[in-house]
Symmetry: C2
Subunit: 295 residues, 2 copies
């Protein structure tokens, strides 16, 4: 049953953006330190990162009681809460063992901070549902914990295994952080602009659950009526549609797009420490890939 | 709510046998290596071990859908599955970070194996419910994963921070392993011999859930009628009481007691590498403490 649960989530067509990032940064930084190719540690890191991401999705879906993920039914929906908790714990346990056996304290500390950020992010999210006083800074901090921390650690971890200077490590961390934030902002925009079929879950479902994201924070500045709809948790059947309409009218989506593009530009700035060539171009391309989803 | 959840479980009167063990082995092994006192790492290890134990109990109670723990209501009963999953994840995340920051690869690897064993133990238990073909070896392996692995790592981890020889480390590991197995066997006996009030949960509840433990494995050799009652999952209201009665009549409880005592004796043998004195005596006393619960 656990294997079937693993199939359920690993078999869904995830974008695998995190392991791709590990491989690209591994290659790009290996060039800087004169490694002729990437190491087994780099490859194992890519595995570990995707496993951590997947385990966190399984538990997130339990916490949010979600039915759909990547267009397929969630593990908790198909197999129940018990199996989902156990499957998540099992994958986390495997990653903690794999990570320990990479025998690099700097990377172990880096990833342990990510796991802590995940838990903080979930708590921040849970305690700020339907909260219209959340600031952009709160939102970015929450998005950092939930998403960008792992992406940043993916990039920095790859640089560590290449043995780069601290300056390069920190640039890779910042690149991953900005890329992860851009990714989260785009994701939060798509909740308003894509159809349910495109999303693989109902449109507006983040807002319905009370997640106040970038487009909503901007919209609240212009549309005070939105606040009441959120605070009363969309008590009337038409309230959610009204709220989505207000977000569209407010220009909040355009401002959130601008924010995502600025994050993308900041990410690109961090790449100047790398050699020009196909690896650096591909890392630039990842920023385009994340922002392209806006079109 | 998370603090209240933490209070719910940390506030219940746990025996705190694991941190006590860490402190005793820390003192006993520090004497061997000439440390004048135990180190901050020893103390932090005691904290981490109790936190890991507590996090695993919270998730176990979700997996088993348990209502009572240590005589109090479980976190999942009071706060629901969501908070219990999140609280467990949060505590696990904290321990992984605290552990990484102890900066000792040997201890990190040791504890990461325990986390993996926990997950394996839960899976072994889940997949062997109501299975009357389970052998004593299966049972001991499962008990090792669920209980003894953490106790063994507690003792060995303390020896590592004292800087002892590998021989002492392995003796401490074996001591903890045998002590942990004795503890689990005793726990499984008490499920049959103590009243519901003494246990803080209904008597016979392990068997009712399908856990085939040491007294039952012995009883199955003598009482073939027991097999049908277990395999039909106590379908009639009186089946559980009949099964408990059969276990008592079979002499399985006495044989399980004997097994626990043998484990206790093996644990004592591992202590001969330590200096005689109050610390070694207290570690011997822990074996008595575990076995005393049989009376």
């Amino acid at each position: 049953m656990l294997m079937a649960a693993a199939d359920q989530i690993f078999g869904a067509s995830g974008k695998k953006i995190r392991p791709a990032l590990v491989f690209l940064v591994s290659h790009a930084t290996a060039q800087l330190t004169g490694l002729s190719e990437i190491t087994p540690q780099h490859r194992k890191l890519a595995e570990i990162i995707e496993m951590i991401h997947t385990a966190s999705l399984i538990h997130d879906d339990v916490l949010d009681d979600s039915d759909k993920r990547r267009g397929k039914e969630t593990v908790n929906r198909v197999f129940g809460t018990r199996v989902a908790v156990l499957a998540g714990d099992f994958i986390f346990a495997q990653t903690s063992w794999l990570l320990a056996n990479l025998e690099n304290l700097e990377v172990i500390k880096l990833i342990s901070q990510v796991i802590k950020d995940f838990a903080s992010g979930e708590i921040k999210q849970t305690t700020s549902l339907y909260d219209c006083d959340i600031t952009m800074q709160d939102y970015l901090r929450k998005s950092y914990c939930k998403t960008a921390s792992l992406v940043a650690a993916s990039a920095k971890g790859a640089a560590i295994f290449s043995g780069t200077s601290n300056e390069v490590k920190e640039n890779m961390y910042d690149y991953g952080k900005k890329l992860g934030l851009a990714f989260q902002i785009v994701d939060d925009i798509l909740d308003f602009t894509r159809s349910s079929e495109q999303l693989g879950k109902p449109a507006g479902s983040d807002l319905r659950k009370g997640n106040v994201t970038a487009p909503v924070i901007y919209a609240l500045e212009k549309q005070p009526a939105l606040k009441r709809l959120i605070q009363t948790e969309f008590i009337n059947p038409e309230d959610l549609d009204t709220a989505i309409e207000l977000v569209h009218q407010s220009g909040g989506i355009e401002r959130a797009r601008e924010l995502a593009r600025n994050m993308g530009d900041s990410a690109l700035d961090c790449l100047s420490c790398l050699q020009k060539g196909p690896m650096r171009s591909s890392l630039e391309g990842m920023v385009d890939y994340v922002l392209e989803r806006l079109h």
